[in-house]
Symmetry: C2
Subunit: 219 residues, 2 copies
DNA sequence: AATTCCAATATTTTCGAAAATCTTTATTGC
DNA sequence: GCAATAAAGATTTTCGAAAATATTGGAATT
């Protein structure tokens, strides 16, 4: 992996995780210090992230972390429902045995991690992402999958702080995931779409209620 | 505008216009010669275009123009219908007088240009794009508009060669645009969606039938 | 003849410094 | 005191060269 790719991966993770305060400037000198590399690979990574809307840029004034707002979250959520509903429909229509198996595997792995005491948050997030991707993976559309990844990252910036805030959950998220997987494996498109939609709306409600206006960095 | 921004705009235009053969390598030395600038701004632009899927990159082997294929076109078209149908619905539901006026203005400007003998293709493309954007502009969703722009560029790479190939058109495209605008201004969501969908499917049929397998540069 | 190895060349990637621009601070004039 | 101006400092942007890696072509080997 080149330095520019490492910079992209690290920056993306740190922005989604909230290590930088939303709307705060991303100064090259600081990033160069933090990630131990020169300006060139950092600028290349920042340009990619700008295209992905995780970072904003202004001529001769450098880059900033994209601001967070309730409006932007609602917008991303709405777009996500549109994209994922369609991708799920296609996936259910076209998925084969290997696709079904990958869903079972992703769900199993996710549950193993939610069950653990010593919760490695990073690993949990990875598996959560993998499960939701597995559901859509058979849709056969690179564009929809690309939009899914964009929107997942965009909304993850809101979900993580809410998750840490929330403390003990009323929801049984394992059960929600299980129900979605069941409906998908049963090829029940209508029910799968409804459950996925409800799953996101629940998360959204949690985020809305607990949304901190503070843009302080989380980590 | 910084050099990196100029590089982005120029490269994007030249790729969409087909000045570079699809799948051909974008060598820095050549680009540096062509656009009269150093490697740094070019690499930044290429990284942005990579995120937009107009360019592909491979570690230590540089950048290429994204390949074209019928499958990718069909995928982009499908995603476009999904996104634009939803954006149009929202736009019709929320648009105000200024939005209506901007549609009338965009349609007028587009027709002026299609009517001209000395057809400045660039200007025509700009106004065509502006009209289709105007229809959706009141949807209130930055994400959907962002996806619209991405997909517009992606499909434009297929439309332009087909347009040049096609010669005299059987379709009355001015009339199609007029009908869409009428339905939208009448707030007839169902009819507007159907007309927009048909408009794209007609264009798609034209592209499919005439799609040249050759990846030669167009200009 | 085909394969492997090595050198030569081409290309990408990265750095460090220079240039350009923005921001802050100090200074001047009113 | 306050606005306008200029100098100083901070930051981004760009370049040119160096480093790292890939590719090509040819010689040596099987």
């Amino acid at each position: 992996m080149t330095l520019a790719e490492k910079a992209y991966v690290s920056l993306r993770k740190d922005i989604v995780d909230g290590c930088f305060a939303p709307d705060s400037p991303l100064r090259l000198a600081e990033l160069s210090e933090r990630y131990r590399m020169g300006f060139s690979p950092l600028r290349e990574a920042l340009n990619r992230l700008q295209a992905e809307r995780l970072v904003t840029a202004e001529s001769l004034r450098g880059f900033r972390v994209s601001a967070r707002s309730l409006a932007e979250f609602e917008d991303a959520l709405h777009a996500r429902l549109l994209v994922e509903t369609e991708a799920l429909r296609l996936s259910i229509a076209q998925g084969d045995d290997a696709w079904e198996a990958s869903i079972v595997a992703a769900l199993y792995a996710l549950r193993r991690q939610t069950g653990r005491e010593s919760s490695d948050v990073d690993e949990l997030k990875t598996r959560h992402h993998a499960f939701h991707r597995a559901l859509l993976a058979a849709c056969g559309s690179d564009w929809l999958m690309n939009f899914f990844e964009r929107l997942y990252a965009a909304t993850e910036r809101y979900r993580i702080p809410a998750l840490l805030d929330a403390g003990p959950q009323k929801r049984d998220i394992d059960a929600e995931h299980g129900d979605i997987a069941d409906a998908v494996l049963a090829r029940d498109t209508t029910r799968a779409e409804r459950l996925l939609r409800d799953h996101y709306l629940q998360t959204a409600a949690m985020i809305r209620s607990g949304m901190v206006e503070s843009d302080a960095p989380l980590i």
